[in-house]
Amino acid sequence: MTDKKPVRLTVRFEPAGLKTEVARGSTILEAARQAGVYLTSICGGDGYCGKCRAVVDEGEVEAPPTALLSPQETRDNVVLACQTHILTDLTVTVPRSHLLDGGPILVDSDAHRFSELSSEGVAGGAFVHAPLVQKLYLEMDPPTEQDQMADHERLYAAIRRRIDAPVMQTGYRILQQLPAVLQQAGYRVTVLLAQRAGTIEVVDIEPGNTARCNYAVVVDVGTTTVVAHLVELVTASTVDSEATYNSQMHFGEDYIRRIIYAEQNNAFDEMQRRVVRDMNDLIQTMAIRRGVELHCISAVVCSGNTAMIHFLLNLDPRRIRRSPYVPTAAWVPPIRAAEAGLRISKRGLLYVLPAVGAYVGSDIVAGVLATRLYEAPALSLLIDIGTNGEVVIGSREWMVCASSSAGPAFEGSGVKHGMRAAPGAIERLTLTPEGQFQYQTIGHEPPRGLCGTGLLDALACLLEAGLIDRGGKFVRTADPRLAEGPDGLECTLVPAQDGRGPIVITQADVSNLVRSKAGVYAAIQVLLESTGTTVEALENLYVAGAFGNYLDPRKAIAIGLLPDVPIERIHFVGNTSLAGAKMAALSCQAFATAEEIAGRMTYFDLMNHPHYMEAFIQANFLPHTDLSRFPSAEKRPAGAMAGDLKPGTLG
């Protein structure tokens, strides 16, 4: 083609029916992003993950040959969206299994994956209820000739009569507005005060009494999922909750891929826009549903891994993935939320909990805060299972932490029929005495795939049923559930029914899960050995993460994800990142404690640790190469892995 004028082509995506216009030569993945069709792409468009499959129904495309597609798929017009360039108007179908659920998802009230630890920490008296942002209704005497104190000092004096505020500051704009507002309101005003690193800022001033109208949104900015709660600050109650996929997923499923993508495409602004849009969507959805006006939301309080926070604030994240692995900021000072593009009160603030470093983020600090690990006299272990598996061991005396490259398998990524903990996800899988699989899905909907807890159960069930060996390899038996699939041997967990395809687990999935759990266990082992402690000394094991509603601790031990401790010591605590952020929002004391926690945690770099690789190889076995570490796995008769742990509060 020599035509210099860019040709605009129309691409239509089925089954959603979404249309978009793109330039000739654009890829289908680019068109999908533009059209708002959420297509899975693990490699971020480099053409080697093979996840972004789509079917070209009509129109012409051009794509290099790839080994990721079978000859049959090629005959069926299946293409990799990221590698396929659009030559004419197109109609493309994206198979359901390759779609991410777009848009906010309504949260079931009982869904533990989005739930929080009870705010007992605040309500129960551990921390003083003193939100990071608070509103005070002030009634001042108007000035007279006998009382000529300036408006600004009059305001400060009134504030200081109510609270202890030795250091205060006021913005220029507020100062400019001050006389007008005070006089209009007859010196009866509401001030919005915010904690800013030891200083109290007069953030805003409104006529009359609006003190009760004060909300914060707390957000867990996850690599895969963004979860937000709307919190009424005066009563410390959670009004609503909402979750959505992080739409940066288009650019890679783990944050390292996203940093690489952003770097190669100079897409840091785009990354920020995406996550901010996700957060704004969540905030708006909750605000509209609860009839809360955006200007009543005074703050957003966030936690998340360090890379996600960098994307959110558009800070340079590039050195997070390069030696010496230095983030731009681990402790981010509060900024105006509007500066990041968040739509709440115009002068509202964005707080981020402090992080330990590049690989242990504020989400983990929040977890330590929420589980109160930092103040327990006895040793505890916190594992946060997400795209990375972070591990913290410690007590009020000391704390150590590490991050293992667990991979997103337990979040359902990189697993053929894996999915996020959303309605239709199998969250529990058990074996009947006859050796049949029994499942339970989230929301009791027809099964669509397996979320993290379902995958964990599946691994334990396969082992128990003798379908895999301890190395995680399928044992070729006559079992009819075991068959050769397009990706090698696979086991059918749920047979096809009602027009739905079967749900299977492949050899690659099993190996992936074994590696993931090995990464987590090896991290635990290295931390224990490095600190000269033993599994027996761990009084409490907190398992955090948004990967399902039920965790069967026996199964988690049976596969060697968790150390073999008495199961009453294991607590499945859900999303502690969010819980910690909420505690911080409700109590500046909790926020200060988070800073103290971040400062106290010692980071162990596993990649450069002399024993990590060896510990990993040892753990790359079910449950472990060193069986003496898992006495209960030896003792337990087959079929005795019943019972599970319901989501609970902390013991």
Partner: protein, 315 residues
């Protein structure tokens, strides 16, 4: 005041196993160590290490001249070769290595392998090691037949790996053989293979461990330390590691260019006729000091050197 003698005491012991039975005229006992080599009294060191000489099922095509000449015209005749190994060179065992069944090295079938096994069994009275070609598919097809042909002889069948252990384990179990469990120079994987095999009901006291061996000059110190750690784990009471160990010295040593380069290629390296055997013997002796119980050797001079070394220390 004189210092009291310092003695390391270990809680574990390596299994002692006796290879050979059925029509074998001799048996060979290996293993049994309660301490490290030189770590205590002679009787605590277990059985004297044994030497197996490699006999190939088909005439090797790529052997360096120094090695090939040592066997001359028996190279194409496994029975005669085995006889020479035992009667002239004093091999404790004969290791029949079925290279010739490998798809890239002749792709011979089970009939050939069985015939070779039967001939060698007839030719010599020492216990046999029956070592596959390393191609999983081919070994799974051929080695069970070889195993059957030697049923009751209490031979050693080699080898099973973490990715391919079921078929040979079942065969060795049925035919009453010993089994070699192979790992890629990784102590943890070695243990994992042992677990796989024992999970199938194979008794641990019929297993021999094998780490892929490297020759002198090619990561020897790492091989040594893996062997040593394996042995220390056994002596510390790890039952899954308390197994005798075999090393494949011959084929590894003769892959080294220092062993096989001719005098023309490397005039500065000294007499080629002595260089190769020295390379092989040195590799073997180093490994024996790490606690290895059974070595596979090739060159007659190397065999003689290693034999003399073993005699001088274990007798």
């Amino acid at each position: 005041m004189p210092l009291p003698p310092l003695q390391e005491a270990y809680s574990g012991q390596v299994h002692a196993i006796t290879l050979g039975g059925g029509t074998r005229k001799t048996t060979v006992t290996i293993g049994g160590a309660k301490t490290v080599v030189y770590g205590g009294p002679r009787e605590a060191c277990g059985a004297k290490p044994a030497i197996a000489i490699d006999v190939l099922d088909a005439a090797p095509e790529e052997w360096p001249p120094v090695l090939a000449q040592a066997y001359g015209n028996v190279l194409g005749d496994p029975a005669a070769w085995a006889k020479k190994a035992v009667e002239e060179l004093g091999a404790d065992l004969v290791c029949v290595r079925f290279d010739g069944i490998h798809p890239d090295k002749g792709n011979r079938g089970a009939d050939h392998a069985v015939a070779v096994t039967e001939k060698v069994l007839k030719a010599v009275g020492v216990p046999l090691i029956l070592w596959g070609c390393g191609n999983d598919e081919k070994d799974n097809a051929v080695m069970p037949k070889v195993s059957q042909a030697a049923k009751g002889e209490k031979a050693v069948l080699a080898s099973v790996t973490q990715d391919n252990y079921r078929s040979l384990t079942a065969t060795a179990l049925a035919d009453g053989h010993f089994l070699v469990a192979q790992a890629p120079l990784d102590i943890n994987i070695a243990k994992q293979v042992n677990i796989f095999v024992s999970d199938m009901g194979f008794p641990l006291d019929r297993l021999i461990m094998f780490q892929t061996t490297g020759a002198l000059g090619y990561g020897m110190e790492y091989v040594y330390s893996v062997q040593e750690r394996e042995r220390l784990a056994a002596l510390a009471g790890d039952k899954l590691m308390a197994l005798p160990v075999v090393c494949d010295v011959g084929s590894e040593a003769w892959r080294a260019k220092e062993a096989k380069a001719s005098a023309d290629e490397a005039p500065a390296w000294g007499d080629a006729a002595r260089r190769g055997p020295i390379w092989e013997a040195t590799t073997a002796i180093a490994l024996l000091q790490s606690g290895v119980d059974l070595v596979r050797l090739r060159h007659p001079s190397a065999v003689a050197t290693v034999k003399a070394y073993v005699e001088s220390l274990w007798s």
